[in-house]
């Protein structure tokens, strides 16, 4: 069996390239890192990598992680500035015995020492978004903190190894130095080849309160199907945060077990994910909550065309 599952439609191009490689016997680690790197490189995805939205200071600070489910080794970067592919830095860090979570200037210095490319990651289009959001925040009182879609990709290879990788520019208009769940072990990602893997997207500050990805993997280890694990963790966390904390942000997850069975859960209306396995042709699903259960169906061609138009549409300034 092989399989790959990813948060959000934006992962489609990367997953499209990695799925045939997994089918041909490639390693899960390579498949997920290459797929995430493809998302990082695509300039029209405004929440990941090149073209990602800046902090409130106008700088693009990127977070990424990689975890090897065979060894449990992981590497992660936070607030990395102007390095082309944060996910590749994270993978390189996973091979270090110590210092595998590096942030800020230290992460950048290490990446440059290791030969990773310096690249200006702030685009004119991202700055247009930034200026528009500044105006909306002032004029209409909209929350500045909207738009924080992390790409998280899980792979299972024919050898039975699993890996997960994440990448994000984080909460739009975040403060300098803010880290969300994406580079945080157990919250934004977790992977154990003997069980499965999970990855999350949404409000990192809330996803961390439940160690969301770790808990999903743990429930799969305890016998739940991926879908049961995903739904139960998301909706229990939502209930708990509403009763204890008084509010809750967006929480969305995908997961896959070592048999290539997958699950997805969300507490919002428009969560998309991409999946392909030996049994399941490459599909983009649109997930929606129905009470305490997540339902999903393939998107249609009209949805795909509207998406393609929307991400490239001129930004009204």
């Amino acid at each position: 069996m092989w399989g790959i599952i990813a948060t959000w439609r934006m992962a489609l191009e990367g997953v499209s390239e990695s799925a045939p490689q997994l089918a041909a016997g490639s390693a899960a680690s390579t498949a997920v890192v290459d797929a995430v790197a493809a998302v990082e490189d695509f300039p029209f995805y405004k929440s990941v990598g090149y073209g990602g939205l800046p902090t409130e200071n106008g700088e693009v600070e990127l977070d990424a992680a990689f975890m090897d489910g065979d060894t449990l080794a992981f590497g992660a970067v936070g607030n990395l500035i102007d390095i082309a592919n944060p996910v590749r830095v994270a993978q390189a860090l996973s091979r270090q015995r110590y210092n595998s979570l590096l942030v800020g200037q230290g992460a950048r210095e290490w990446a440059l020492e290791q030969g990773f490319s310096d690249k200006a990651m702030l685009t004119e289009r991202a700055m247009q978004h930034y200026r528009k959001r500044c105006r909306e925040t002032l004029d209409k009182g909209l929350s500045p903190y909207d738009g924080h879609d992390t790409v998280g990709i899980i792979g299972l290879d024919k050898q039975g190894s699993m890996s997960v990788a994440t990448s994000t520019s984080g909460l739009f208009m975040k403060k300098r130095g803010r880290i969300g769940d994406s580079p945080i072990m157990g919250s934004g990602f977790y992977c154990d080849s003997e069980t499965g893997a999970a990855t999350a997207t949404g409000v990192g500050e809330d996803l961390m309160k439940g160690c969301t990805s770790y808990e999903i993997v743990r429930r799969m280890a305890g016998g739940m199907t991926p879908q049961q694990a995903a739904d139960s963790v998301v909706f229990e966390l939502e209930d708990k945060l509403m009763s204890r904390f008084g509010r809750v942000g967006d929480l969305s997850v995908v997961c896959m077990n070592r048999h290539g069975e997958f699950g997805a859960a969300t507490n919002i209306k428009t969560f998309t994910f991409v999946v392909a396995t030996e049994k399941q042709p490459l599909t983009v699903y649109l997930a929606e909550r129905h009470r305490e259960q997540t339902c999903y169906q393939p998107v249609d061609e009209a949805w795909m065309q509207a998406y393609a138009a929307r991400i490239r549409a001129p930004i009204e300034e």
Copy 2:
């Protein structure tokens, strides 16, 4: 019932001040933050706060966290430079809806904006340690990465609220920007007033692989005593990392449930912890592993005197 438990002997002075306050009805949040701040302020503790050991670049980068077990709100800082009390910054961040985990320059800027004091945290004594370690690493081939004792303190107040706080200068000779488990939700700390809390110290890179503190709290919620939860999590993680990752670092934990019962576990020879509850007079325990179980007994006066002499002894250069 009230109670307080902390990693390492170094917490004794802070715990001594906070325990009577908890007995008198003070809030757990205040008790743990004040106790951690006392450790941060003490210049002879070389792994926390003022006097903490520097990174390989010779700078002191501090990590700290605070979690409120009633609301699950948390705040944390990583790689904070030259702010007097990182734990107080973490507590202030726990009151923010977003941006509650801040690192590096962004964390420092936020702390200064909020009125926290600028303070040069590198001491001459810490630099003596640094120079000695550089020599030992070169001359004797010793690992540079030895000495990474985090203070983590859990409090339970008479109102039934629990909190946890951590603070550390991190792995000695760490790379600039390295973050360990101490500011990482679920790994270095976790707290839920309906169940209990846990906090960890040791090699952060390994503690994170098991979401150690979260898993201990989860097992207490499932019915284990604190001691069973602590021992089972530490030794299972050790076994798992040995079989999957091929090596394992120091792993030590303390935990307390909402009834004030406590537990401690370690895979090393010389882990100390400090505890006081309504039923248990203030005691410093020395914990040791015996196969897959941790045993502990109070330290004697000779141990205490040797400790006091050792931390103040001149550093041979």
